[in-house]
């Protein structure tokens, strides 16, 4: 995979005009369908206009639809958005279903976002509610008041038992056991 997209304009997810905070507002304002009445490359477009365009316009009263026939030119879709963006799409030799999919994309977009590389999949105005984490969070207050260097903090976390210590421990244990045995005998 190439890294050419690294040189694209990059940005963070944004929605225009606080869209969706109160309600959702469709950002597509005008849709222009340009096509030829007899050229073969416009066939799918003509089918779409015949079968689905009226339904589309009825379903989306907020979108103005312009239909523009022109001779011997390839069919084109142009969407104009609330933020002033204009998206131009060539739909040469596309079928009816393909065109309806492209129109759906134009409808659901917020603007022509094709050339923006997103750096994050998240945007927030309030990054932290409980406060950002610091190394002193939830630590005992002793740690704050200490003066360094301290002998306690200088010790390694785990000091293994030395052989001598172990021997002493074993010896003491033996003695204890011997004592208990003696006591038991005395009791008897």
């Amino acid at each position: 995979m190439s890294n050419s997209h690294l040189f694209l304009k990059s940005g963070f997810p944004r929605a225009p005009l606080q869209n969706g905070v109160g309600r959702y507002v469709c950002q597509l304002q005008r849709l222009t369908l340009k096509f030829c009445k007899n050229n073969g490359s416009s066939r799918g477009m003509r089918d779409f206009i015949e079968n689905h365009l009226v339904d589309f316009a009825k379903e989306n009263p907020g979108i103005v639809v312009y239909v523009k026939p022109r001779r011997h030119r390839a069919p084109v879709l142009v969407g104009e958005y609330l933020n002033g963006d204009r998206e131009w799409l060539s739909v040469r030799n596309s079928t009816q279903t393909e065109i309806s999919k492209w129109i759906d994309l134009l409808k659901t977009q917020n603007g022509s976002s094709s050339s923006l590389r997103l750096r994050k999949m998240w945007h927030t105005d309030v990054p932290s509610i409980q406060g950002p984490w610091t190394p002193f969070l939830l630590r005992s207050p002793d740690a704050h008041n200490q003066t360094y260097p301290t002998s306690e903090a200088s010790q390694p976390l785990d000091v293994p038992q030395t052989a001598t210590e172990k021997l002493i421990e074993l010896f003491k244990q033996q003695q204890l056991e011997a004592d208990t045995v003696l006591e038991q005998k005395r009791a008897e």
Partner: protein, 199 residues
């Protein structure tokens, strides 16, 4: 080490063959302190459970009081959505990558809440909070395609070269509100088992 000791103590609480276990521990040379602790072996489990329950209840009550007075401030939640976890708070925008059926204008509620919190408290799910405890409402605001990604492959000296262009769908979601729907039940929280449902 402390963990091991704890588990050993738990085991000792149940067993009748304490003597054999003690022998085994000596063989393992586990420290003396542990053995001495086990000799009395009179840990009052019921009392500890009761104490724990009481603590749970007082904490829950305090949270409930705060929520009732609506002094809790802004809530946040960690939600699981399409295989990813997002930390969200009202007004946030999150993006779902790849094909996802909901369309623009749809209002959805995100049910898989792993964690919810405010300034003074945090509710942690094990692994998820009870269904319906926290209501996270969101609106779909955009469905679009990513920038064109180029997949370029080449093998040297093998006359092999492929170039593919790809644009995958992206869905932008606005978080509208996060609310606690019902007061917390201290007793239930204390006794709650780990929820069996795993997504």
């Amino acid at each position: 080490m402390s963990l091991l000791a704890q588990s050993m103590r738990q085991v000792l609480r149940h067993t009748t063959q304490r003597a054999t276990l003690n022998g085994a521990m000596r063989a393992l040379s586990i420290n003396q302190k542990l053995q001495q602790q086990n000799k009395p072996a009179t840990i009052d489990v019921a009392a500890i459970a009761k104490e724990h329950q009481q603590e749970c209840q007082t904490v829950c009550e305090r949270i409930n009081q705060q929520v009732a007075k609506s002094e809790q401030g802004r809530l946040f939640a960690v939600v699981h959505l399409c295989g990813k976890q997002f930390k969200v708070t009202p007004g946030d925008i999150i993006l779902v990558e790849g094909y996802w059926p909901p369309t623009t204008g749809d209002e959805i509620s995100l049910d898989k809440v792993l964690l919810a919190g405010a300034r003074d408290f945090t509710l942690i799910g094990r692994p998820m909070l009870d269904a319906g405890l926290v209501m996270v409402k969101a609106t779909i605001i955009e469905k679009t395609l990513t920038h064109t990604k180029t997949h370029f492959k080449k093998k040297r000296r093998k006359q092999y070269m492929r170039i593919n262009f790809q644009r995958s769908p992206n869905t932008m979601i606005r978080i509208n509100s996060i609310e606690l729907t019902r007061p917390l039940d201290g007793m239930a929280e204390a006794e709650a088992e780990h929820s069996i449902r795993l997504f």
